[in-house]
């Protein structure tokens, strides 16, 4: 379980900018299947937090129920975690961040947890622009109950036993963009470079950062006929741009070539640099993002990368105009009005 950090690392150990070694970002040993995409995502979270120098004690990890939702136990063991109920993590995260707006928060969900039982809470989370990194570990099936289709399974994809999915998929990225999320990305658990850059961007963004990460289920959904298998995703991944991340604390000059790259500056001053691939893509245009998503899905392909970003929109805590200090720690002198207020209220009722 958890032990507070503090013991000085052995000399020679590599430390990050806040003096922690990567070990201090790890969690307990995974109990997911060997080769599960979710484990790779946990690794990228560990790396990203280490590289950015995120203080693990200042992070909340939250999840719903399912294979994906087990994974917060496998990273950042010094962070407080909450494995809540199926599809309802958004509400728990909302309450927690309102109670303490100074914390960073990572929510891990799955495609069933988000797209089926939790679609209502997902919708309203996106609308509120809560400052939360929301990751869907998307494998198109229910792993923990042995492989049933989830709502992100594509039409015509098959189960291991040959059953065909007749229903259209929910595209969580399209939903997130339409509903008001301010950082929307899709990636692949096997694309180390892209996923790390997007995670770092998400962690530096102030507002809901929704990452749909295709994360193949090696046990139930990695066969021919699945559109969420390693080989299918690898062959059909179509990045909208080549993405790299430059943190605010690194003094790196960004080479800006007219017409070949775009730079998005995030709330904390970090930058996401998007290098043009075969065509120009503007992630600040909601209309263009939705068009590209539709076109690629019609071709049976996955548009990946940073699909939409709006760094300027107010996040939920700012919208509510909360005081700077966490509501959870306000002293009674602030939260209990004086006796004169009660007298005033009583007089009104006499």
């Amino acid at each position: 379980m958890t032990t507070p950090a503090g013991s000085a690392p052995a000399p020679g150990k590599k430390l990050n900018r806040i003096g922690l070694e990567v070990l201090q970002y790890r969690g307990s040993k995974t109990t997911l299947c060997a080769g599960c995409g979710h484990n790779a995502i946990s690794e990228r979270i560990i790396e990203s937090c280490y590289d950015l120098g995120v203080d693990p004690k200042r992070v909340l990890k939250l999840s719903g129920i399912g294979c994906s939702s087990k994974s917060p136990a496998y990273f950042l063991s010094q962070a407080h975690g909450f494995n809540s109920v199926h599809g309802r993590m958004p509400s728990v995260a909302t309450g927690a961040l309102l109670a303490n707006r100074t914390m960073a928060a990572i929510g891990i969900s799955g495609d069933g947890d988000t797209g089926a039982i939790g679609v209502g809470q997902f919708v309203h989370l996106m609308r509120r622009n809560l400052p939360l990194v929301y990751i869907i570990e998307d494998n198109g099936c229910y792993g923990l109950t042995k492989g049933q289709f989830s709502p992100t399974a594509d039409v015509g994809s098959t189960l291991k036993n040959g059953v065909v999915n007749d229903l259209p998929p929910i595209d969580t990225c399209v939903m997130a963009i339409e509903l008001g999320a301010t950082f929307v990305a899709r990636s692949f658990s096997g694309d180390k470079k892209q996923l790390t850059a997007l995670l770092k961007g998400a962690l530096s963004h102030k507002g809901t950062a929704m990452l749909d990460v295709l994360s193949p289920c090696v046990t139930f959904n990695d066969h021919e006929g699945s559109t969420k298998s390693y080989s299918y995703v690898k062959d059909h991944e179509e990045p909208v741009a080549d993405v790299s991340f430059v943190p605010y604390f690194e003094d790196i000059a960004i080479e800006q070539e007219e017409g070949t790259s775009r730079t998005v500056t995030l709330h904390d001053g970090s930058k996401i640099v998007l290098h043009k691939l075969d065509r120009d893509f503007d992630p600040t245009s909601r209309g263009e993002s939705l068009r590209v998503l539709r076109e690629t899905s019609e071709r049976g392909e996955y548009a990946t990368g940073l699909l939409y970003v709006d760094p300027a929109k107010k996040d939920f805590c700012s919208m509510l105009n909360l005081v700077d200090e966490p509501l959870a720690f306000l002293p009674p002198a602030v939260t209990r009005p004086p006796a004169s207020v009660l007298d005033e209220l009583m007089d009104k009722q006499r």
Binding site: H80, G81, A93, T94, Q121, V323, P337, L342, L345
Partner: protein, 629 residues
């Protein structure tokens, strides 16, 4: 409760006219603006020092369906609903006939003249009033007439009952003080009604009003508004809610209070967060998330919301997260009668969610307890680290009740066992679910502090909070939760007991049934010479006082407002079978607030004593209350 008789002056007129002991029912159409007129009526009685209570029997509808407002004035201080109507104001053509036919003989009817009701009965006194003609004279603007028309009956009633016109005017200017034009129009209508009655009615009503001094210093407030003030004084920081009748006005009142008293006047910065959630599931999810992170968080709902909150309540119980939930109970099952009252969620809430769960319930009977239990509820939830429910109801939450003013809390907050450096030293090696102190309550840590983190989960866990499917871990954890619930019994408010020495029969009630039982005890004594004891439950779990009380009596009657004797079911679960065998039930579940007559008759019947007043009359609203949602 005041039971002293006031000195009734024996003037020739008052010999035949009962003073300060009657009920008025105003029958109108929903949306016709009768609320102000009814409020003025109840307030002017209250201002004259007479104990009053008001019950709004309204439909689940914005406009068009029948609605009744009953006011009881009682010099003895009885404020439960009175079943029999003495004075009817019949304004609704749709229900007027039935409203008149169901009155007891000797009653009074003020009615809209065109309804032509006086031929229906010969044993009532009728006062026809040409409302349209009168309103046209005082309100030239035809569009505004609908709004002031009802004030005319206030004037008529004032004359017939001798309510001081000055008090009505005072109540009216208090209500409409800032709206000068509306005030003038309403005052005109009030006067027109009074003058018309004075001119046309030679005989006054057989009831009358006489100034008393029983309300001095008291307030008149709805339970939901009282609970909102309690939440404010308890320092609530996160509120998440979903609109539902009859609970919405609690959070709406609270929002007004928070905006007024907890927001920086210049910057607009708030020391609170309020979220109108997408449903009740999310509302409780937010409360659980906020409480986990250390906020004082609450939500308010009614039966349908309670059903939806089952899942998160189980999580809160098992992961041991505080939460305060107000249940303003209404009639179920399913959508039920959304605007009628019941105590129908007791059993389901006490054991809400799957698996073995038990939840503390607080049972307010008064607006004062709505206030006090809101404050105590936050302390209790944090002390016990578990969801705590405050079981109010529509009658308490949405009706006006007299009360002594609320006291400013003498104690500070109890934030419970939250680990800090000093406590960590004392505890030694910390485990989130370890019973260090022997009371079943573990120590928790909060995110954003320097204390060790833990992983909260609804899945099986050991004392360290680690995932565990081990049988011994599971059993030990469940047994500790049982111990914690025993600890809860020592922390919840103790029942209120009145036990005369020789009483063989004991009454038990909770919540709003209390006011009927107070009156029933007097009726039983006066009508049948039956002396009873009384225990009013203020909380679940039960305390040993309940068992002791049962032991002292031959028979116990538990009075509650549901069909299935839900509190008795909990008693059968928790009490010794020999004690449970003494229990009988008095049940009231027609959606109307419980009245003493019903309780008294039921007890007398079960005791095999003669029923003095077999008032089995059909009650008008319950027969006529049909319509859409």
């Amino acid at each position: 409760m005041a039971t002293t008789d006031s000195a009734v002056r024996s003037t020739p007129e008052s010999v035949h006219r009962t003073a300060n002991e009657f009920s008025i029912q105003v029958a109108t159409v929903n949306g016709s603006g009768s609320q102000t007129a009814n409020l003025i009526l109840i307030r002017s009685l209250f201002q004259m020092g007479i104990p009053v209570s008001g019950k709004n029997l309204f439909p689940s509808n914005i406009a068009g369906l029948p609605t009744w407002y009953t006011i009881r004035a009682n010099k003895h201080g009885y404020i439960a609903r009175k079943k029999e109507i003495d004075f009817l104001v019949a304004m609704n053509p749709e229900t007027a006939r039935e409203d008149v036919l169901t009155l007891d003989p000797g009653g009074v009817v003020v009615y809209d003249e065109p309804l032509n009701l006086s031929g229906l009965r010969s044993d009532l006194t009728f006062y026809p009033v040409p409302f349209d003609k009168l309103v046209a004279a005082v309100c030239p603007d035809a569009k505004l007439r609908r709004l002031v028309r009802n004030m005319i009956y206030d004037g008529v009633v004032a004359y017939l009952l001798e309510i001081e016109l000055g008090e009505m005017e005072k109540a009216l200017s208090r209500q409409l003080g800032k709206k000068q034009k509306a005030l003038a129009l309403n005052l005109g209508a009030l006067k027109a009604g009074f003058d018309y009655a004075q001119e046309h009615f030679q005989t006054k009503a057989p009831f009358r009003v006489e100034r008393m001094n029983a309300t001095a210093g008291k307030i008149l407030i709805e339970g939901n508004a009282a609970a909102a003030i309690g939440c404010l004084m308890a320092g609530v920081t996160v509120v998440a809610w979903y609109p539902i009748t009859p609970s919405s006005s609690l959070c709406e009142s609270l929002i007004d209070l928070l905006r007024k008293y907890r927001m920086d006047k210049t910057t607009g910065q708030a020391t609170f967060a309020v979220v109108q959630a997408e449903d009740e599931i999310a509302a409780l999810g937010m409360v659980i998330g906020a409480s986990w992170a250390g906020a004082r968080a609450m939500t308010s709902t009614s039966g349908p919301g309670i059903s939806l909150m089952g899942e998160f309540t189980g999580l809160g119980y098992y992961a041991e997260i505080p939460a305060l939930i107000f249940d303003i109970q209404r009639v179920g099952p399913s959508t039920g009668l959304p605007t009628r009252t019941a105590q129908g969620d007791i059993l389901t809430t006490a054991v809400l969610s799957h698996g073995d769960t038990r939840h503390p319930l607080l049972l307010p009977c008064s607006v004062h307890e709505c206030y006090q239990m809101a404050i105590d509820g936050f302390d209790l939830a944090e002390r016990l680290q578990t969801p705590v429910f405050i079981m109010s109801d529509l009658d308490l939450g949405m009706n006006m009740w007299m009360s002594e003013p609320f006291e400013y809390p003498a104690e500070g907050f109890d934030r419970g066992k939250v680990l800090d450096a000093a406590a960590l030293k004392q505890v030694g090696e910390w485990g989130r679910y370890q019973d260090v102190d022997g009371d079943g309550i573990p120590w928790r840590t909060l995110p954003g502090t320097d204390m060790p983190a833990y992983f909260a989960r609804g899945s099986g866990h050991n004392e360290k909070g680690q995932y565990s499917e081990r049988s011994d871990d599971y059993e030990r954890n469940l047994d500790r939760l049982t111990k914690k619930f025993k600890t809860a019994a020592a922390l919840v408010p103790a029942p209120e007991i009145d036990r005369p020495k020789d009483a063989k029969v004991g009454l038990i009630a909770y919540g709003t049934s209390h006011w009927a039982v107070v009156e029933t005890r007097d009726q039983l004594r006066q009508e049948a010479g039956l002396e009873t004891s009384y225990l009013r439950l203020k909380a679940y779990p039960f305390t040993p006082a309940l068992s002791e009380f049962i032991d002292h009596h031959d028979r116990i009657y538990v009075v509650e407002q549901n069909r299935d004797a839900q509190m008795v079911a909990l008693m059968r679960m928790d009490l010794d079978p020999a004690r449970a065998a003494k229990i009988r039930s008095v049940l009231h579940y027609n959606g109307l607030p419980i009245d003493a007559r019903t309780v008294t008759d039921a007890v007398l019947a079960q005791e095999g004593l003669a029923v003095a007043h077999a008032a089995a009359a059909v009650e008008a609203p319950h027969a006529a209350g049909v319509g859409g949602e």
